[in-house]
């Protein structure tokens, strides 16, 4: 086994580490702690956060890549170990080979036979056209009539294992957090449901295609799971690229004013007057040309796809900073007129220190709110871009690619609805909690939404 570290793998782990560190440091600020407590004091916030963490967890598992060692070719005795050309991730292992059970083409969820007729030879040797049986569905069944009974039996077993896993997951938490005032109960419920679903999906998918297969015969559930990493990464990485640009430019424009302000304003006005999609499409195509001209730099297909993907995140980030920049500039303009900044000037505190101690900490709420809100917007942006064909590489699983592939099949009769549904379901389950969580964060951190007797 030989680990493979893709650029995006390194970035996602760095990002998660940075976020954990950031929140750990925030704990020291009593005001911030109080506000986070407010976010997590609601059952909704707890549940939404658990779902988001689950998605991030799947994305992290899918980011541990390696190449399997192959058995030495027959008849050759050598100490050299050969590695599979295919890069596998820990998630692929955990899903018990879900991605390796290919069919010929489309098949409906839980189907035993293919969706399209094929020329077959029957036992008598006659050529007939019929729906061929699937290779990896219901192999253990003697009679197709027993299918649902089989599913129910396997589900019961899976559920039992799922409950066991949930207990294993929740009991230590319960022991540690039983005195906590926060509504951990809702989180445990969500964790339990997620654990049961995960175990059920993995065990059932060994015998059936839970969400069917697509045109190329790949399991749709597997593709949707692979889409999680792409979605989470694109949301997080693009924001990460955007944040430093927006914060640096916004704070300097608001603080130094004068020509700095003029330049920054000119920049973002220009940027926001160019149609975003055109700019992104042009940049992606340019990068595609670069990859094609330099094949040596990207040995495997996955590395090519990965480079293209990072370029996309980068471009999305570089083109979307203007809103946050505007907000931060306005806030900095306001803060730099406040007494404590003036007092700091009167004490001769240096510009760097004023920015670091007085201005940045007081714009954190804007950065935080934008980070959480933009995250879901970027996940959706990826879907749109892949749909028009300038998104992530088609070889890389993504919800946008799935939707793009499904669009023409919807007009068939009977319609092929499952690819679209799979992508939609998984995307919805990420974007909805992200949006709910963003709302709660905004309520807690935005001074303008605070109501109460003080406001009266």
């Amino acid at each position: 086994m030989k680990p493979v570290i893709l650029w995006s793998d390194a970035l996602i782990f760095l990002l998660v580490a940075a976020l954990v560190l950031f929140f750990w440091r925030l704990r020291r600020d009593p005001q911030a702690r109080e506000r986070w407590r407010q976010v997590f004091a609601s059952r909704l916030g707890m549940a939404a956060f658990t779902v988001i963490v689950a998605y991030v967890g799947v994305a992290l598992l899918d980011s541990l890549h390696f190449r399997r060692a192959l058995p030495p070719p027959e008849g050759v005795t050598t100490d050299e170990v050969f590695y599979d050309n295919q890069v596998t991730s820990v998630l692929d292992t955990l899903t018990a080979g879900m991605g390796e059970r290919f069919e010929r083409t489309y098949s409906a969820p839980f189907a035993l036979r293919s969706f399209e007729k094929q020329t077959l030879k029957d036992e008598a040797g006659n050529t007939v056209r019929d729906f061929p049986p699937l290779r990896h569905a219901g192999a253990s069944l003697d009679d197709p009539e027993d299918k649902w009974a089989d599913v129910a039996r396997r589900s019961a077993v899976a559920l039992a294992w799922g409950l066991a896993l949930a207990a294993l997951l929740i009991l230590p938490q319960w022991w540690l957090l039983r005195r906590s005032a926060l509504p951990w109960g809702s989180s445990w419920w969500v964790q339990g449901v997620l654990a049961c679903t995960a175990v059920w999906l993995v065990s059932i998918s060994r015998h059936y295609h839970v969400l069917g297969t697509d045109l190329g015969g790949t399991d749709v559930l597997y593709q949707s799971l692979k889409g999680i990493r792409t979605g989470v990464l694109i949301g997080a990485l693009s924001t990460l690229v955007m944040l430093p640009i927006a914060v640096t430019l916004g704070v300097s424009a608001g603080y130094f004013k004068g020509w700095v302000d003029d330049v920054v304003q000119y920049l973002y006005t220009t940027l926001s007057s160019i149609p975003g999609i055109l700019l992104i499409a042009a940049a992606v195509l340019l990068f595609q040309v670069y990859i094609d001209l330099n094949p040596d730099a990207f040995p495997t297909g996955l590395e090519k796809a990965d480079a293209k993907f990072i370029a996309l995140c980068f471009i999305l980030g570089v083109t979307s900073w203007s809103t946050l920049c505007r907000l931060i500039r306005a806030e900095t303009l306001k803060i730099s007129q406040l007494g404590y900044v003036q007092a700091a000037h009167a004490f001769g505190v240096s510009h760097g220190r004023i920015l670091a101690r007085h201005i940045l900490p007081n714009t954190v709420h804007i950065i935080l709110i934008t980070f959480v809100l933009d995250f879901s917007a970027l996940v959706l942006a990826e879907a749109v871009l892949s749909y028009i064909g300038v998104g992530v590489d088609p070889s890389m699983g993504s919800w946008g690619n799935m939707i793009n592939g499904a669009r023409s099949e919807l007009s068939r009769e009977p319609a092929i609805w499952w690819t679209l549904s799979g992508a939609f379901l998984f995307m919805f389950l990420l974007v909805l909690p992200a949006n709910l969580f963003a709302d709660l964060v905004r309520d807690a951190f935005d001074p303008r939404t605070r109501l109460g007797p003080e406001a009266a």
């Binding site: 404590y340 220190r353 007081n362 007797p453 009266a456």
Partner: protein, 534 residues
């Protein structure tokens, strides 16, 4: 007059938080009579604004009326359905707010806004409506009303805006007028005119006025009866004359005493000059056009000269926009002087670069007006006080800095555990003490106090002023005290300068300027100061 029936009666009114049912206003009874001004006084947070909002049924969602009745004639306003209440508001009861700037709609003309209530409640239209609005504007003292009707709010001064608000309130000839701190946002001279107008209208129109204020001077000058509100209750109610002669409650006595005395003046100080300001001008460029060229300048300070001796307090008095704060900022080096010279202890300090300025930062310090905005909400009090010491290198070691912070907190009479607390945990008065400690931390020779007490309640204001005076006696620090309030000048300042439109119109010893003013503007200012002893 006391036998006459009430126009509006509040009985046993209590207002509570909708969520926790915690009472903010408890068992309040107020009787408003026609032609009489009832003043409700109290500190911020005592529940006076909530009482008035409850009477209008305009409480925010977080609050609700717990019990009580609001009787207007025989009708209980709290029992009316909302639709009927709307005909009462504006028609029978009207309200004017503290800040006319935010209460007027900036994108509508004065005429449209005044006519709005008339259109809602009366059948007046067309020329008759215009005539009515014009006569209303004339009644509230707007000159040339026919022309001003077409103006937008920003084209009028603050005082005129408040007059428009009053005209709007009076449009439908209400019986009750509620005025919530109607003059707090206005300058003293304009405050006087607006209060006189309210008084006159109460007489001529037989209005029952509920005047909410925290200023005892305003009460004395304007009201007929007074109610003192403290922690949600009315603790004392009396006619104005008997209230000021013999208040029954200690708290009322404290409120009256908190007004600074007007006859004890400080003797002049004989010492070497510390600060010399020579013909300083601060002009702000007005940019416009395509390339943001300088088209004109705003003359914020237009040639001011003054000297300040060691250990002396110089009060710089003037209305908002007179340039007094800008002059203070120019001395601090936060604003560049366009012309003139500023000398500190024999050295010219205007136009110094950042590094050279640093040496004087320690010697000149500042206290700002708003204690809430002058502290970084994310820093602990100890760190706030230590910041100046750190950047100016006053105490190098961490231990010595902490010891000094403790000593300073004790000097401004704050408990030592304040150092670990955060600004939002302290009250305005406590925060202003922290600001004083922060300024003292670097041992300055001159402190510029930019309206340090105008954001504070009256009783706290007196404490802070006393603390400042005490520190000056002990340390001999000189102070440039910027204020719009002439009443605090005696007992605080040795000399006074009166500023108007960027110019110093009169300077002199405090006693001379306040007792025998020479410039007509100084006389006008003095006449406008609300006094307790008429």
């Amino acid at each position: 007059m006391n036998q006459q029936a009430d126009t509006l009666t509040l009985e046993g009114l209590s207002v509570e938080l909708a969520e926790t049912a915690q009472a903010l206003v408890k068992d309040v009874a107020i009787h408003l009579r026609a032609g009489e001004i009832f003043a409700l006084v109290g500190e911020s947070g005592s529940g006076k604004s909530i009482t008035s909002l409850a009477a209008m049924r305009l409480l925010p969602d977080a609050l609700r009326v717990g019990s009580g009745r609001a009787l207007m004639g025989d009708t209980d306003l709290f029992a009316l359905p909302e639709a009927r209440m709307q005909t009462v508001r504006g028609r029978r009861m009207a309200m004017i707010f503290q800040n006319p700037m935010s209460a007027l709609n900036p994108v509508q003309t004065v005429f449209r806004q005044v006519a709005e209530t008339l259109r809602l409640h009366t059948a007046l239209r067309g020329a008759a409506l215009r005539d009515r609005v014009a006569s209303l504007l004339e009644e509230v003292g707007i000159p040339d009303p026919r022309q001003r009707m077409g103006f937008y709010p920003h084209q009028l001064s603050g005082g005129q805006q408040q007059r428009i608000m009053i005209a709007m309130a009076l449009a439908c000839e209400p019986e009750v007028l509620i005025a919530d701190e109607p003059t707090t946002a206005l300058d003293v001279t304009i405050q006087k005119q607006v209060l006189e107008l309210i008084r006159e209208l109460a007489r001529s129109r037989r209005l029952a006025v509920l005047l909410i204020t925290h200023d005892m001077g305003v009460v004395r000058q304007t009201a007929d009866r007074v109610g003192v509100m403290y922690r949600g209750r009315i603790i004392e109610e009396a006619s104005v004359a008997s209230f000021f002669d013999a208040p029954k409650e200690d708290y009322s006595q404290r409120l009256i005493d908190a007004l600074p005395g007007q006859d004890a003046f400080l003797p002049p100080v004989q010492a070497a000059p510390l600060l010399e300001v020579r013909d300083v001008k601060v002009h702000f460029p007005v940019r416009g056009g395509l390339l943001r060229r300088v088209q004109d300048v705003t003359r914020a300070v237009d040639g001011v000269s003054l000297t300040l001796a060691r250990g002396e307090t110089f009060a710089l008095v003037g209305e908002s926009g007179s340039g007094k704060s800008t002059l203070g900022r120019a001395i601090l080096g936060l604003e560049a002087a366009s012309a003139g010279e500023i000398h500190f202890d024999g050295t010219r300090i205007d136009g110094l670069d950042r590094a050279a300025r640093q040496a004087f930062r320690r010697r000149i310090q500042v206290i700002f007006q708003n204690p809430y905005s002058s502290m970084n909400p994310r820093m602990a009090i100890g760190a706030i006080i230590a910041e100046g010491m750190l950047s100016l290198g006053v105490e190098a070691s961490q231990d010595r800095r902490e010891a000094r912070v403790r000593a300073l907190l004790e000097r401004v009479r704050l408990p030592a555990d304040c150092a670990r607390r955060y600004p939002h945990e302290l009250s305005g008065g406590q925060l202003q003490r922290v600001a004083i400690a922060r300024a003292l931390a670097v041992d300055p020779e001159l402190i510029i106090c930019d309206e340090p007490t105008s954001a504070l309640d009256v009783s706290i204001r007196a404490d802070v002023l006393a603390l400042l005076a005490e520190l000056q006696r002990e340390d001999g620090v000189a102070m440039l005290f910027i204020t719009h309030d002439l009443s605090i000048v005696p007992g605080l300042a040795h000399r006074v300068g009166v500023m108007r439109h960027g110019l110093l119109v009169e300077t002199g010893e405090a006693e001379r300027v306040l007792t025998a003013p020479e410039h007509p503007y100084t006389r006008e200012l003095l006449a406008a100061v609300p006094r307790v002893n008429r």
